[in-house]
């Protein structure tokens, strides 16, 4: 039971971004993909979601190759949390989360009362039940990110994949969102998230994969993988580490 990339070559049609990457997402654990912007994190993420075709190697989902899996089947197993965006239309937050139920419905169906119950439960779980009736376009960036996480959970997936979940959030919201993501693993979900902040990988991930220039530079538990030498090489710039009370914080020099 894993979401795994094996010897993966990935990129866009006619344009290769990365080669030879193997990573595994295990239920109950969080894997951080850490690397500089342009290092291939998002492209790898989209390939593991089945949104881009692998150039080489395979992505397998619970032992089956994902390439042949129907799109609905995939959506019932993997929830995707994109970077929060404003959206073109002012759907109610409740309706946005209900869209997470789509893969469980027939082509011509609308949400059932059971779907609505699931949605209200997810909203409550993430502490955003009070937003249910508000327009998605009128809430804050941090709230939007939580709504998108609720939508992914409404898919009732086994894995949740998040693209830079805190990229556009202020300091307080970053912590709030990351704690929620961390709590997903306690529910037995496999979590994969990208970040360019080594401290997030250190603080919230069980394993971390360093991705630079489209290649996997290291892959292991944060305490082993994250050090000044590795991070300086990854970002091509000196990184300092500050240690206090058994807590290591990395700072750009």
């Amino acid at each position: 039971m894993t979401l795994a990339a094996q010897d993966l070559g990935f990129g866009y049609p006619g344009h290769s971004v990365g080669t030879n990457v193997s990573v595994t997402v295990v239920p109950g654990q969080a894997l951080a993909l850490l690397g500089p912007n342009g290092g291939g994190k998002t492209t790898l993420l989209k390939t593991m979601l089945g949104l881009l075709r692998p150039h080489a190697g395979v992505v397998s989902l619970d032992g089956q190759p994902m390439a042949n899996m129907p799109v609905g089947e995939r959506a019932r197993r993997i929830g995707y949390v994109p970077q929060a965006h404003a959206g073109a239309f002012a759907f109610a937050v409740r309706d946005v989360v209900l869209m997470g139920r789509t893969a469980h419905q027939g082509l011509f169906a609308s949400p059932t009362p059971a779907d609505r119950t699931i949605v209200e439960a997810r909203l409550a779980e993430l502490g955003i039940a009070h937003l249910a009736g508000k327009p998605y376009t009128m809430i804050s960036g941090g709230e939007r990110q939580l709504v998108l996480i609720a939508r992914a959970l409404a898919q009732e997936p086994r894995y949740v994949v998040l693209d830079e979940p805190t990229a556009s959030l202020d300091f307080g919201n970053q912590g709030k969102v990351m704690r929620q993501i961390r709590s997903l693993t306690a529910k037995g979900l496999g979590v994969l998230f990208t970040t360019h902040d080594p401290n997030q990988a250190m603080g919230y991930a069980d394993r971390v994969a360093l991705l630079g220039g489209g290649r996997l530079l290291a892959n292991g538990v944060p305490a082993d993988v994250l050090n000044v030498a590795a991070l300086s090489a990854l970002y091509g710039s000196t990184v300092r580490a500050v240690c206090q009370h058994e807590l290591t914080v990395f700072l750009p020099d």
Partner: protein, 339 residues
């Protein structure tokens, strides 16, 4: 805003505007029909008894004004529903139902028919077919270009093909007989329901009903399709086939309307905004509300068109004169209703 009213509220408001509109439309004209006469005539037909009304009244209701009123409602509803569908599909509240070239294709078809002095039915058939062929062409070209956002590529292809077809229309107008053909062409291009009779209703109703039923059936998937492509796929929607189905349904509806009434701008652009303002963007609520508002709106415009002046005013001119200020008002004050 996610809308002030629910589905029932939207339908109630839509009917509340449409039904008085029907009464007004029948009572305005050279031969006014009162609501009681209309009611009596309809009821008698329903129960199969003679109404006792003068034959002229029956003729006006069933052969002249009635078909025109129904055609105005159908065309307005069609344009509004197609506009709502395309705006959702292209995630852009500024697109019209003819964004993929339906109107330009229909125009070229109709101009060809007028140029060769074909009959009314042939001109309508050419317009309908022209719209479908143009959109199919845009779709084929657009979806074979594998770069960037498919929605954007389709819209750009639609603009390009549309302007090519527009050049064809220009050429036919240039070559046309300036005394017989050119006025007919100009009149068609500005939109009119003046020649509508009973026989026009079935070819109008059939495609509009089929397309609208398909869009209504896909209402929940339509909501998901208004998300960015990759998100929709990650939520389990097979976006390729679904996009094709939505484009086909919306084009069917648009082409039927254009074939019957010529090119009527603005309705498909503005009415979905009004509907979204009332009931929010959720497609299951949006479609019925937009259909009723669009029907009522075009009926009002058509009533004005045949009664405001000594001659018939082309519909496209009235919708533009009314649509422009309404749209600017939407841009200025009601931005939140769609952004």
């Amino acid at each position: 805003m996610t809308g002030r009213f629910g589905a029932i509220g939207g339908i109630t408001i839509g009917l509340g505007l449409l039904l008085p509109g029907v009464a007004v439309a029948f009572s305005v004209g050279r031969f006014p029909i009162s609501v009681s006469e209309l009611g009596l005539a309809l009821w008698s037909t329903l129960i199969g008894q003679p109404s006792g009304l003068p034959p002229a009244v029956d003729a006006v209701i069933f052969n002249i004004r009635g078909p025109r009123v129904l055609a105005a409602i159908l065309c307005g509803a069609a344009l509004a529903v197609a506009g709502a569908a395309f705006q959702g599909l292209f995630r852009n509240p500024l697109v019209s139902p003819d964004i993929l070239g339906a109107s330009s294709g229909a125009a070229l078809g109709a101009m060809t028919g007028i140029f060769f002095s074909l009959g009314v039915l042939a001109i309508q058939a050419l317009a309908f077919g022209g719209g479908l062929v143009a959109v199919a062409l845009v779709y084929l070209i657009g979806s074979s270009i594998r770069s960037g956002d498919i929605a954007l590529v389709l819209v750009l292809t639609g603009v390009v093909i549309g302007s090519l077809l527009g050049a064809g229309v220009g050429l036919l107008k240039y070559l046309a007989d300036p005394y017989n053909q050119l006025p007919a062409m100009t009149f068609w291009l500005l939109g009119s329901l003046a020649g509508t009779d009973r026989n026009d209703l079935l070819p109008l109703f059939g495609p509009i009903a089929v397309g609208t039923v398909v869009l209504l059936a896909l209402r929940w998937r339509m909501n998901v399709m208004s998300l960015p492509e990759e998100e929709a796929r990650a939520l389990g929607v097979a976006t390729g086939p679904l996009r094709l189905a939505i484009v086909a349904a919306a084009t069917l509806v648009t082409s039927a309307s254009v074939a019957a009434a010529g090119i009527i701008g603005w309705v498909g652009l503005i009415v979905p905004h009004m509907a979204r303002f009332l009931v929010g963007p959720e497609f299951g609520r949006l479609v019925p509300t937009a259909a009723l508002l669009g029907g009522g709106y075009l009926l009002l415009i058509d009533t004005l068109a045949r009664s405001a002046a000594q001659v018939e005013i082309p519909l496209g001119i009235l919708t533009a004169v009314i649509g422009t200020p309404v749209f600017i008002w939407l841009l200025v004050s009601a931005r939140k209703s769609w952004s």
